[in-house]
Symmetry: C2
Subunit: 299 residues, 2 copies
């Protein structure tokens, strides 16, 4: 339990290195008074997280023969959106967290005003990277990448899910409401990662149905596993405060289903996610291993 | 003084109507718990501001025969970025303002957490609109619009300028530092408005030099005029608190140059901006009138 298979372990290690080095190369580094902003953007983006979204994106793109460096640029963009959302989520007016990836949160290290700006700048950075011809020589692909990421990031996706999360605090949400909330809050971006890989691979929309099914099941399994970790996990391994959900009056899958049924449900979703990949051969092995890992990880 | 010429008055009235009605049509309106977010996005985006950026964009695009509805979509995108920046700027950890366009600021009306999310969602909305084929049937144009706006909005533009503004509080900045700060904080987005109009008009990069010169001079003149209004203006007409800059220890053009020299400088920049348009005929009359209006307005 908790140890990924060798193929996935190698992929996780590689994407972690690649993401850090590409963030380092692409993030700004001004020499004037803006240097605080640039340092804080690096603090938020480099050296933390499992990089699941870039891995999902690059592994999907690789199935269709996309150049790794180009897929990695799109991976950086989606990870920048994820990183900005964590910076804003951690703010005192939101979740008020002090620790993230084992480091002080951005507002603890640099102040609240800088943390607001870091999130804002990381979001703009994401779209700047996608729109650059280095990400794809095909402008249609660039524009599609922007559209998919913007839809998943905004009020119809991630930010909408955060709004549901805030609005639902202290309310007794049922399973359908929690599912909807999480499909937006984390599912939209995980789905976008797979979709962007398919866009880079020029897979026509009608050929993406199975990938969307995979991403949808994976996203829910991921969130249930996250709730289980929040409920039972080790704060030192997680690098952040745990068991905050119950205290904040937030409804989770574990609260509604209980830990045992939640674990069964996550396993069932993983099996279903893998089944969507049935007509693929070994080119989909990383996606399969990732789905299994998502419910077995210990942080 | 303060009254725009008839052509410009008509253009200002038209763009105000068009921007409001298109925001109303395009902004989300969820019926679930997200409705608070959607209401707050509308509060931030609809019914306020002079809409200078959409006017600059559509007036430039019109010079090159671009369809008004398409240019307006790009105008909505840049105005969404401007609106989000005001929402975040007004937050307690930033400028802590209570009034904007004569209404309570978003965090006053909806709370801080919602205000953070409104800004984040408006930024994503901007790029979603640009990447949509309805903005241009040419994917190269869509990708270019995204690139220009993302660069102008991020750490290398508007957000970078806000960082300089925060970092410079209480410091004795000279004219070059204030100029640089304002070129990023407000100039970048005003420049992007003109540039995006040229992108829609498929003006090649080498044919945009005069437009960039116009935008650069206009942007600085605009900021000097803003400083003069903050120094001498009428808070009721401005719809926001004035004379906050001195109190916040912020350096302004007026503080460094004095009001008389600042006014002369703004006028000189306007003349220079108009001179850049020398080889255009009456198709550039709105841009000329806008430049004159920018230093003559009383709010």
């Amino acid at each position: 339990m908790g140890v990924p298979d060798p193929l996935l372990a190698e992929s996780l290690a590689r994407i972690a290195r690649d993401v850090d080095s590409m963030f380092d190369a692409l993030l700004p580094s001004a020499t004037d008074n803006r240097s605080v902003l640039d340092q804080a953007m690096r603090h938020a983006a480099i050296g933390g997280g499992k990089r699941l979204r870039p891995l999902l994106l690059t592994a999907t793109a690789a199935m269709y023969g996309v150049d790794h460096a180009q897929a990695l640029r799109a991976g950086i963009a989606i990870e920048a959106v994820h990183a900005y959302s964590l910076v804003h989520d951690d703010l005192p007016c939101m979740d008020d967290d002090e620790l993230r990836h084992g480091k002080p949160t951005v507002h603890k290290a640099f102040g609240e005003a800088v943390a607001v700006l870091v999130g804002d700048a990381l979001q703009a950075f994401a779209f700047e990277v996608l729109a650059d011809p280095a990400t794809s020589g095909d402008p249609f692909v660039r524009a599609e990448l922007v559209k998919v990421l913007a839809q998943a990031a905004g009020a119809g996706g991630m930010v909408g899910g955060q709004m549901l999360d805030i609005a639902g605090e202290g309310q007794a949400l049922g399973l359908p409401e929690i599912t909807r909330l999480q499909q937006l809050k984390t599912g939209a971006l995980l789905g976008a990662a797979v979709e962007m890989g398919a866009v880079l691979g020029k897979v026509p929309a009608e050929g993406r149905t199975h990938l969307r099914g995979y991403a949808r099941d994976l996203g829910l399994a991921f969130q249930i596993a996250d709730d289980l970790l929040d409920h039972e996990g080790d704060a030192a391994k997680a690098g952040k405060a745990l068991r905050k959900d119950a205290g904040a009056g937030k409804q989770t899958f574990v609260a509604v289903l209980g830990a045992d049924r939640a674990r069964e449900q996550a396993q069932m979703l993983v099996d279903q996610a893998i089944a969507h990949l049935g007509h693929h051969g070994q080119e989909a092995d990383v996606l399969r291993a990732l789905a299994r890992y998502i419910v077995e990880r210990d942080h």
